[in-house]
């Protein structure tokens, strides 16, 4: 158990982590976009409260957040029994449980950038869309989203990265079952704890390289339209 190269267990952990991060990011995109949109339109005194509420998962140390989730999911409590019945299997120590925890934990990373972007030009665009007879959902999907592409890419990148690095929450409610709940961050931590520095360095490097590649790809896909303007091409500035 002192692999010269990155071990099979680590590879498995890496794959699991990428899956978790991808699922979480997609789910959060589905949750975050309408949430941020509603919030950016909400003219009530409660808006600030809700915005702060969304920030709160950041404030609690992840392990403590994980602890409270553990209590929530616990079969010893009614909440956990109800959730398990709803889902058909216990949430603790399952991939589903991890996804739920990650979604809660990474919520601010998705919602905040979107909210900032929507607040800045969302009102103007939504009005312009409504003034052409477009219903709100169409305004969101066909007008606001295309105009907010950079913010969306940035939000997804943050969420993805944060889910990759997530540790405390996963440790608490997921433990470290290889192939099921052992994500890279935990594998990495365990290498360090077990004084397997070589394996730790290698895994950290692989993680960083893979993530950098993915993030660069995302940026490239989501680059703003104006980046390819005639002028920039003229001046030889690369897109």
């Amino acid at each position: 158990m002192n692999p010269v190269n990155i071990g099979a267990a680590d590879l498995e952990a890496l794959w699991l982590t990428l899956r978790l991060a991808a699922v979480t990011t997609l789910l959060l995109l589905a949750i975050g976009v309408p949430l941020a949109w509603k919030l950016s339109h909400w003219q009530s005194r409660w808006r600030h409260g809700v915005e702060v509420l969304i920030t709160l998962p950041l404030v609690l140390p992840p392990t403590v957040l994980g602890f409270y989730l553990l209590l929530l999911f616990s079969p010893n409590h009614a909440s956990g029994q109800w959730l398990a019945a709803l889902w058909g299997e216990p949430l603790v120590f399952s991939f589903t449980g991890l996804v739920i925890a990650s979604v809660i934990y990474s919520l601010p990373f998705m919602v905040q950038p979107l909210l900032a972007s929507f607040s800045q030009n969302g009102k103007r665009l939504t009005r312009a869309a409504a003034a052409l007879g477009m219903p709100p959902h169409a305004a969101l999907l066909k007008v606001l989203l295309p105009a907010s592409r950079p913010a969306i890419v940035s939000a997804c990148a943050l969420t993805f990265a944060h889910t990759l690095g997530e540790f405390g929450v996963v440790l608490m409610i997921g433990g470290a079952i290889p192939g099921e709940t052992q994500v890279v961050s935990i594998a990495l931590f365990q290498h360090v704890e077990a004084l397997e520095y070589g394996a730790a360095h290698r895994l950290a490097l692989v993680l960083l390289v893979v993530t950098t590649a993915l993030l660069l790809l995302a940026r490239w896909l989501g680059r703003a339209v104006s980046a390819t303007s005639r002028e920039e091409r003229f001046m030889g500035v690369p897109g």
Binding site: V92, M172, G175
Partner: protein, 231 residues
């Protein structure tokens, strides 16, 4: 049978030892064992709230006792499988006596006595030597013994209390194995969890870990011999 699978929740500090011991068991018992290691406190919480563990190897005796009291274990399965031994990390040149501690004016790294068993033991050592109050200001508290080792290894301190098993695992010899009369030995206990779906096999693994051969191996790995069989 290949479908036999056990999940062991083991204190992070015991993981290297466990990894060394398991292959033999897996071969003879025809059973795959998954290690889920972490801080004993976290593992306890998880076991309490429905984690699918079969066997819990704690780094202390407090948490297994708590589980027993909460009726979460197979009755009678709580046993001491090893004694954690405290070692003092020393500069290479230093003498392996209490005088070294007494005369030390620099940082002393210890695990946090509030949460870590090795921290409690370290405090007991200092108290026995009558140094606890005098040296308090010099103490740098790491979260647990593992982190205390990382600290010392990275050079953030030249003197500190760590687990002997870590020094052995890392092949270092710049340590003084503290006399066992200076602190209460750290009893590391195991329990078979009630929610286990494979209690027989789990018990078999527990028995294997408590067997004489394993105890001898553990001694080589830096663990002490339990004072008596069982409790």
């Amino acid at each position: 049978a290949t479908d036999c699978q056990l999940r062991v929740a083991a204190a992070a500090s015991f993981r290297p030892a466990l990894e060394a011991l398991l292959p033999e068991f897996e071969a003879t018992a025809q059973c795959k064992v998954q290690i889920n290691s972490g801080s004993s406190g976290v593992l306890y919480q998880q076991a309490l709230h429905g984690a699918p563990f079969d066997l819990f190897l704690s780094a202390d005796r407090e948490r297994p006792e708590l589980l027993e009291r909460q009726d979460k274990i197979v009755p009678g399965s709580r046993r001491t499988y090893a004694l954690g031994l405290l070692a003092l990390w020393l500069p290479d040149s230093a003498e392996k006596t209490s005088e070294t501690i007494r005369g030390w004016s620099d940082t002393i790294v210890i695990a946090d006595p509030k949460v870590a068993p090795f921290g409690v033991a370290a405090r007991q050592v200092l108290q026995s030597l009558g140094l606890w109050d005098g040296k308090r200001a010099q103490l740098a508290r790491a979260h647990n013994a593992g982190q205390a080792y990382l600290m010392l290894d990275a050079g953030h301190g030249q003197l500190g209390f760590v687990a002997a098993s870590q020094m052995v695992a890392a092949g270092r010899d710049n340590y003084w194995l503290l006399p066992q009369d200076l602190y209460q030995p750290i009893e590391q206990q195991l329990v078979v969890l009630r929610q286990s779906r494979n209690a027989d096999r789990a018990q078999a693994l527990a028995d294997y870990l408590l067997s004489g051969a394993v105890r001898a191996r553990l001694a080589e790995l830096g663990y002490g011999r339990a004072a008596g069989e069982g409790l």
